[in-house]
């Protein structure tokens, strides 16, 4: 059953057709990868999904509700979390505080005036954050200021921040971009483990085919804003159209 369904989405920027009639179904408990050469419209699509952009036409339905016209924070509250290409974390705050914020957001909603209660007394939230941190092996860094961590740790922290919200759909925007080989492997392992343990639904944009093929259950290939093919990884591997699209890119 598709938890996210994109139908006939169009988006133009001036004369440029960024997205043309994109259809996409992300099925629950699967990992759906979106690949394509640069400028294929992957990021535009992602921005439509999280409410940053509003498409000119088409529909995006998440769990039976349209997300179009909703603010990013509302879409998050519906159960969609996003990991960015460059980690978006609260750099000035400690790791623990970074973790607590999504916990509160999940429990209290978009805004709550909880100005008198002490954070120390939020035992449940602290426990939840700690268990998530230990899941990503960062419990020992809980009092560290986030900006002082390595890039890989920042990425893991961001992922943990998304996961602690128990999202129904996790969007990953090139989660391994700019990472060293070993870090990439770690990330893949982490994602795999989490998927196995939590039964998470994921949509991932990725350049690295290695990552794509080790994680994805289904792949959509975008080229110049149009969906080219949608199929299983095995079928995509040898698909002529995909080759063409990528080779075309290489020639340019």
């Amino acid at each position: 059953m598709a938890i996210l369904s994109v139908k006939g989405v169009n988006k133009r920027f001036g004369g440029l057709q960024a997205l043309g009639d994109v259809n996409l179904d992300v099925v629950e408990n699967t990992c759906h990868a979106i690949i394509g050469p640069n400028g294929a419209g992957k990021s535009t699509l992602l921005n439509v999904l999280v409410g940053k952009l509003i498409p000119d036409s088409g529909s995006v339905v998440f769990d039976g509700q349209s997300v179009l016209g909703r603010q990013p924070h509302e879409i998050n509250q519906m159960g969609i979390s996003r990991v960015f290409q460059t980690p978006e974390i609260f750099a000035d705050l400690t790791v623990m505080e970074n973790m607590l914020i999504p916990c509160f957001a999940k429990r209290d909603g978009a805004f709550r005036m909880h100005a008198i209660e002490s954070v120390r007394h939020e035992k449940d939230m602290i426990e939840k954050a700690e268990s998530m941190l230990s899941e990503v092996n960062m419990l020992d860094k809980r009092e560290m200021t986030a900006s002082a961590m390595s890039r890989g740790d920042k990425r893991r922290l961001e992922m943990a921040m998304c996961l602690v919200q128990d999202p129904r759909l996790l969007l990953l925007d090139e989660p391994t971009a700019g990472m060293a080989r070993a870090d990439t492997e770690n990330t893949i392992e982490l994602l795999k483990t989490i998927r196995k343990e939590r039964g998470l639904t994921m949509a991932i944009i990725e350049h690295d085919m290695n990552v794509v093929f080790s994680l994805a259950d289904r792949i959509t290939v975008l080229a110049q804003g149009m969906p080219l093919v949608e199929d299983t990884p095995d079928n995509i591997k040898g698909h002529p159209k995909v080759r063409e699209a990528y080779l075309g890119e290489a020639q340019v």
Binding site: H73, S81, L93, F104, V119, T145
Partner: protein, 398 residues
Amino acid sequence: MLGLDKKDSTLMLVVIGLVIFAPFLLNPFPEGSAMAQFNAGYPDLMQRFVIFGILAIGFNILFGLTGYLSFGHAAFLGVGSYAAIWSLKLFTLNVIPAILFAIIVGGFFAWVIGKISLKRSGIYFSILTLAFAQMSFAMAYSVLTPLTGGETGLQIKNTDNPLIGGPTDGSIGRANLFGAEMGNSFELNLGNWVFTFNLGYYIAALAMIAAFYLSIRIFRSPFGIMLRAVKSNQNRMNYTGLTPKVYTLYAFVISGMYAGLAGGLMVAMDTQVGPERMFWTASGEIVIMTILGGAGTLIGPVLGAGSIKYMENILSKINKDVLHQWFAFLPDGLEDAMVVFADIFVGKQWHFTLGIVFMLVVIFLPGGLVEGAQRLSARFGRKKKTDTTDTAASTPAE
């Protein structure tokens, strides 16, 4: 204690102690001695210390935590003051309704201005708040004269007839707390020392302690973390399902209410309001106080407020005569030279010292006076128990 952890409780106790014993602490020099000039333990200045302390604490909740630099905060102080004086003139001479009224009006005004100004961020936000405050000032000074008294401001007059309990003998009503006047105080003579305990001061001090306590609670609350998140990364907040603007608006309103409280207390202590209270220099002073003390720290803004008010009220009163008294022990020529030299920094040149202090502090103590205090305690080789900062101190506000 009271839901604070050990470190905060210690800090709280230290602040309470300082505030209660301020009449002693601020009057260290015996009457009549040359150094008595430096005594600050008289009601007016003590009241100003705590009132501006409240103002800076409130400002710090906005600026220190969210990083939003309001350059029009004096407007809330001003409208709070006007609200309070009208309450004294029309409703009752009791200060409690006046102060409550000031808080409400300050908060409401902040809500209106914040709602509009928060559509922008960074310098654009600062200029919007500045523009609103300057408009308020200009209008209070001129067109709104019937409401604000214009340049001459508002005072209580003998013709005022408050709804409840005004004086009947034609004398000028005085602000009071259930009959006890703000000016009441008693003096304690110990040897050559005179210590003044003033009712108004202790009321203001109580308000400051409450304000400070509330500020600690806010700093340590989930709300406080959210405000620091606003400063750190609004984008991530949005994608975490949170509304940074709403959080900021609440912080803005809270700090507006603090400013209103300060304005109300100012009127309660000294029953008059003038429009200069809303001029941009007054807003700038609040900003400078907070940065000077250490933005984002709990106690910093209070220190900053105290030191600026101290310089304003003490340095400006040192004239050549006083200097001659100080240096009288020197030979004549040297005495004159010293007087001429010292005169550059005091009396009518007190602004000069102020400017130099700003520069020195920011150059050598990037975290403000709080950092100076930390370095001092570090130098004396013991871990200061009352570590006055919190984690936000390591990342000065922007």
